[in-house]
Symmetry: none
Subunit: 195 residues, 4 copies
DNA sequence: TATGAATGAGAGTTCATTCAT
DNA sequence: TATGAATGAACTCTCATTCAT
């Protein structure tokens, strides 16, 4: 029997890594990072505890890998939006994208918030977490400036507060929250009503 | 050494309990509930672990007691506000009260959010946590209705989102967040601009 | 029931610490440091694993504490010998003391050698280990110089080699080794034969 | 690609085995047997863990093989020396050979000592270790007897002690130890001074 | 022959909780 | 009321060994 090819090994690795990351994300989001044991992740992912450590040097590195994935997704979104020249369109699409994203990746968002409010995790995680909120603010300031707002910074903070508040409420209440209606209202309020 | 009177005992009890709850609140807020050990609380509060278990049957009961205190404060606030008959005044005072409270008790608020997004802690805690947001919504709906809004429920949710978003941003960024300005803007937007 | 007095606690602590250190020393000497698990130490010492960590922050700190004890004993011996003015007497008493000591504390000596030849243990341990051999050499150089030797340094190294070689053989072979005879011969050779 | 001949296979085998043994010896000597992982040996030897287990059934068997090699070398030396009829010459050559060997194979010697003082490794290893010191003693007794010593056994033990002590010091101190000078002195003392 | 993914037992360590005093 | 010694379960992590390919 000839040994597996490097490609075969690579494929196995990739599949397992994804499997573990997905399971870990779900559990971290459900129970919090500290409350989730490595044993639980391994059990739910259907692998042995030992195998996890073949792919991730520590529980924290696993968390880091998950956050990096999310960050990459975010970056992609921002890049895509930057090519939209009309500021209203850009804002519209951004709202659309965020509301879609939060509904599709509830786990990511829950995890972010719980990490953001539990600073003991570690510096490396904190650094990843800090990237995101600032990006939203900067994005909004730029859009409102182009839209001719008198005080774009204040409006951006207000917009960000309303947006994040809605998302937070949705993450807390789930389907009981009128997300679609709030999205529509946000759109009306910050994009369409402005002239 | 005359034996202590019952009153003295009671006073000692109360003081000790407060000491423990304050220390625990601070540590829970700083490090997260799970990341805070009972030993650490006892050490920082200057009491023995054994004594802690005289007053609280478990770590979770200690958390519960802290949350109950917060709930009581909240209830008190709501009761006080309900005596204000003019809805605009009532809303104004509510905003005032919340912004003041969050600045004076950052620890409470940080703890709430971190618990809200780490549901595994336990049912009893969850039930306490659920009380509060709903109270805010109901309060706002009532005010907006009295103010003659067309869709008071939608406006209440929007108001709550903006408010909670601001508070969340403040808890994250601390003094770097323009809290006073946002409070003023919130006031203008949801109270004074409405006619 | 009144609580235990600080003295009572202190006594308990001291007794337990001694108990654990003695057991650990024996096992470390028998099996080597790395081969001895904390569980084994706890089991043989008749305490729980957890208790060990009340007294020592880590397995390595336990080792360190044991080595410090040995170092203190050594220092005491050196100090005592320095008050002997006649170099021959001093050398004689030193040999006497070392041979007695090695027979009474086989465990210490086995542990030292195994640690000295297993450098991975850690810097802090290494530093403690380095103290001792040099002390022997310096001691012998001084004595031989006072005894008028032509090349006291060379003689000191030779003496140290013979001495350490004997001790090593004794530690390896135990009662099968003619320790008393070798001690007598060492004495004759390095003290009495010289004039 | 013509299929490899059996000789080629055999050559590959031998080369691989040597490679693994050399790497293992180095790591065992540097870090100690217990502190060296099979993975580390495989990695540093540039082979897979699986292949290692093709050649050696266990980590301990690998150690055993290394020790057997050393034993064979030793035996060879003893055999070679036995053909020297003059006891002084024989002793001289033995000292020469040992000092040369220890300088060329520091790893072997460090490993031996660390194993000798960490007996828990296993019986089979212990048996191999016991062979060597006894061989030195027997060798010296025979030489001193032929040289007409009054108490050849005592002198042999003294000689062995001085020799092993020197080697131990050298292994500990490395180039800081005056090995050449001590070798010369040993020679003078135990061979040339005797008449 | 050769690979490295996979396992599971056991390592060191932490911590909520109990209890004798 | 008050102490902290003591426990044991659960934690994160390591590693010799196996095995499908």
């Amino acid at each position: 029997m000839s040994p597996r090819t490097p490609q075969q090994f690579e494929e196995i690795r990739t599949r397992r890594i994804d499997q573990i990351k997905q399971t870990a994300l779900r559990l971290f989001a459900e129970r919090g990072y500290t409350n989730t044991s490595v044993s639980a992740i391994a059990r739910e992912a259907g692998v042995s505890k030992g195998l996890m450590y073949n792919y991730f040097n520590s529980k924290e590195e696993l968390l880091h890998a998950i956050l990096e994935d999310a960050l990459a997704l975010n970056l992609e979104l921002v890049t895509r939006l930057q090519s939209v020249s009309d500021p209203k369109d850009r804002l519209r699409q951004a709202i659309e994208a965020v509301f879609t994203h939060v509904q599709q990746h509830v786990d990511y968002w829950r995890l972010f918030i719980s990490l953001a409010f539990q600073p003991a995790v570690s510096g490396i995680v904190q650094r990843v977490l800090d990237h995101m909120p600032q990006a939203v603010i900067d994005f909004a300031i730029e859009a409102f400036r182009q839209m001719g707002h008198v005080d774009p910074e204040r409006d951006a903070w207000f917009f960000a507060a309303a947006l994040d508040g809605m998302l937070m409420h949705y993450l807390q209440l789930g389907s009981r929250y009128p997300l679609a209606e709030m999205q529509r209202y946000l759109m009306v309020h910050f994009v369409d009503s402005t002239e």
